[in-house]
């Protein structure tokens, strides 16, 4: 059943009247959620102005994880040295960060990337997308109180992390995709393991669907909650599943193409308001679930058509782009991850600005959570899928 909650616009300031006619002023409470809090997904401080259980205003305070990576980048003697810093921005989807930065520098250098490298980059990025969405879905479930899907998602993520460890030795922060190529070639046995994973993954995702997706309680917690209208989403530059959940058919892999995504057969998933309004938390959740299946398809296709070649042949010995600037954006699991790199002709970057999708998506939080209840606020923050490393850089 659809629950609509209308909040009169002067809810806060309207005084009540007691039976003897005296005015009764109800106070709002200011509550702090965070910085350490089990459900704000990192060190985020939310200052909530509450009237009973209804949220009147939310003021996010960030900066607790600010590590000034942009200043560090300016002091690096080599463009490749920035890649470990970029890894640590969104630590849950490192491959995508590496690739976005590499794209920006490759555009400045006007580099031609070999096909094998492109395929490997697609495979890694899509595996990373699945891993990141698994965390997003798992932690979202645990915020809602369903403890079991969290562990199922992490079990599947362990298999992806094993694949990554097989390739480059690291489980979380890879330093894998370099400017001009990748650091290691795919090891023998990788293709079979990845194919096995994609096949098993579909069954385990079906279990999560059974427990969560059409569960009545889950729907009651997430449908019609945190509705993000289309024009608000575009005006506030939301991207990724937040934008697609609001019904906007926009995916940078297809619409601002990079890599070899145009060679494969895959679909863009958008939210259609199946169990509630278009743009509610359920839509964002289902967009992420369906995107994982699309990523599995992409990985299988990329593995099937993997060409031969040397993955390090295009890595330049010295990176010294001519003076200029470039902004290149790519589709990370959280949205549009862009890097604006200014080069002054020397070997170290002049300015590197990371446009983090979680930073931008988080800024829309006050707009969509006025009038919600505190429990809904947890659902909304979970559906934005923030990673504080990216928000604060």
């Amino acid at each position: 059943m659809k629950e609509t909650r209308t909040l009169p616009t002067d809810y806060v300031t309207k005084p009540g009247r007691t039976s003897s006619g005296r005015t009764l002023r109800t106070d709002e409470m200011i509550i702090n959620m965070g910085p350490q809090h089990p459900s704000t997904h990192g060190v985020l401080r939310l200052e909530i102005v509450v009237d009973g259980e209804i949220v009147v205003d939310v003021i996010p305070h960030i900066g607790y994880l600010h590590r000034c990576f942009e200043k560090h980048a300016e002091h690096m003697t080599n463009y490749q040295q920035v890649i470990p810093y970029v890894d640590r921005m969104d630590y849950l989807s490192s491959m995508n960060n590496d690739w976005a930065y590499a794209l920006a520098v490759e555009k400045l250098l006007k580099l031609e990337i070999p096909d094998r490298v492109q395929h490997i980059r697609v495979i890694m990025a899509e595996l990373q997308r699945i891993a990141s969405h698994l965390i997003a879905v798992g932690t979202y479930a645990i915020d809602m109180g369903a403890f079991t899907p969290f562990l199922w998602c992490f079990r599947d993520r362990e298999r992806i992390l094993d694949l990554f460890e097989l390739t480059c030795g690291a489980r979380l922060l890879y330093n894998y995709i370099w400017v001009g190529g990748v650091s290691h070639d795919l090891p023998p046995g990788f293709a079979e393991k990845a194919k096995d994973f994609c096949r098993d993954f579909r069954e385990t995702m079906q279990e999560v669907h059974d427990v969560l997706t059409y569960n009545e309680i889950f729907i009651k917690r997430t449908a019609n909650v945190g509705v993000l209208p289309k024009d608000v989403a575009i005006n506030w530059a939301c991207s990724g599943p937040m934008l697609r959940g609001s019904g906007v058919d926009w995916d940078l892999r297809r619409d601002d193409p990079y890599g070899v995504y145009h060679k494969f057969d895959w679909n863009v998933q958008i939210g259609k308001g199946e169990v509630g309004t278009v743009g509610d938390c359920w839509d964002r959740y289902i967009v992420r679930m369906r995107e994982m299946e699309e990523s599995a398809r992409l990985i299988e296709q990329a593995l099937a058509t993997l060409p031969e070649g040397n993955v390090q042949s295009a890595i330049p010995k010295r990176i010294r782009p001519e003076a200029g600037d470039a902004y290149v954006r790519s589709e990370s699991p959280r949205g549009e991850l862009g890097f604006y790199v200014i080069s002054d002709g020397t070997a170290s970057p002049y300015r590197v600005k990371g446009r983090a999708p979680a930073f931008v998506n988080l800024s829309v939080l006050p707009e969509i959570s006025r009038g919600a209840m505190i429990a809904d606020l947890v659902a909304i923050v979970g559906s934005v899928d923030i990673v504080l490393g990216e928000v604060d850089r």
Partner: protein
């Protein structure tokens, strides 16, 4: 059991008799809590595709003991600005409310703590003390989040008392007594006599009753989960929102008492549902496997089965938001129960 022991005590030592009669539920609660902690750990682990503790004893059997030892020797931190008398008193009130309910819960045909005529009514009344304890815990912690948890919890428990009482009313109307021993004796003789299947009434009255008693039983179970603050109704202690709700500032032994009280409450609610609807200590086979000792086996089996069901549900379902929780109680469960009560009354009269 009171009749057996009374001759052994002279009048001066009558009070000792009462202490001995009151002890078995306490011993039972402590043993049962240990076993249930282990059960919950293992069930949740296997549902989540992992194994739980395997090192402390074979398959982690000694883990609950280790947990208790840890809780006992932990530092009892008290927030500086907390209201100390209330802070100290709150966990005890919560436990007292639950333990007092065990007084009229039978464990077999021979043992019931206190054989008063108001058995079930007494349980319903005295478990409301838990609300006072929770509110004290939330308020005295001097923590906005604890207070939130306490307010939500008070509202939830009070709201779900009503479906419990109405479902109870269905069973009481059929069996004609509030005393739980009489209710169970009414259901003696086999599974077909259980109230959930209509009670030991003539067939013409029994068959139309079955849908209503089945629904009343289901709703009693659901309201019971809400009374205990278990998922899907565990918003007051929702870990992801309120850290621990009213529990936040408690550590060490006081937290252990809250924990113990929660498990005891789970058993109490399951026990009441088992007695009222599923025949209590009577055997489902009629005379086979029945008797005072077998009675203990049957009632513990039935009540513990429901405890396991509560554990299973906890690890499967997400939690309801507080207004949805209230909506469920007032606008869904209570109307269904009104229909059940009315229909039961009608069928019994006609």
């Amino acid at each position: 059991m009171e009749e057996l022991l009374r001759p052994l005590f002279s009048d001066d030592y009558g009070w000792l008799l009462y202490i001995i009669l009151a002890a078995p539920p306490m011993v039972f609660i402590l043993l049962y809590a240990l076993i249930t902690v282990w059960t919950e750990m293992k069930i949740s682990a296997h549902m989540q595709d992992r194994v739980a503790y395997m090192y402390t004893g074979p398959h982690g059997i000694l883990q609950p003991l280790a947990d208790i030892l840890k809780l006992i020797q932990k530092e009892n931190t008290v927030p500086a600005a907390a209201n100390k008398p209330l802070f100290f008193l709150a966990p005890f009130l919560v436990f007292i409310g639950t333990y007092a309910g065990f007084a009229t819960l039978p464990f077999s045909s021979a043992y019931i703590g206190s054989n008063i005529n108001l058995g079930v009514f007494y349980i319903l009344a005295v478990t409301s003390i838990v609300v006072v304890g929770l509110l004290m815990a939330g308020w005295a912690s001097n923590n906005k989040w604890s207070m939130f948890g306490a307010m939500r919890s008070a509202g939830q428990i009070i709201s779900y008392e009503i479906p419990t009482a109405l479902a109870l009313l269905v069973a009481v109307m059929i069996t004609g007594s509030l005393n739980l021993q009489d209710v169970i004796r009414f259901q003696e003789g086999g599974i077909q006599n259980w109230v959930v299947f209509g009670g030991s009434l003539p067939l013409a009255q029994k068959l139309p009753l079955i849908p209503f008693t089945a629904i009343a039983f289901l709703i009693m179970f659901i309201a019971g989960i809400a009374e205990v603050n278990r998922t899907p109704f565990d918003l007051p202690e929702a870990e992801s929102e309120l850290v621990q709700g009213y529990n936040t500032e408690y550590s060490g032994m006081k937290f252990a008492i809250f924990y113990l009280a929660e498990y005891a409450n789970m058993y109490l609610v399951s026990g009441v549902a088992a007695c009222l609807f599923l025949g209590g200590w009577s055997s489902p086979f009629g005379d086979f496997m029945s008797g005072p000792i077998w009675g203990v086996f049957w009632i513990v089996l039935k009540a513990y089965g429901f405890v396991v069901l509560q554990i299973w549900i906890r690890w499967t379902l997400p939690r309801l938001r507080v207004d949805q929780l209230m909506y469920t109680s007032w606008k869904v469960l209570i109307p269904f129960l009104f229909v059940c009560v009315f229909a039961t009354g009608l069928i019994l009269v006609l």
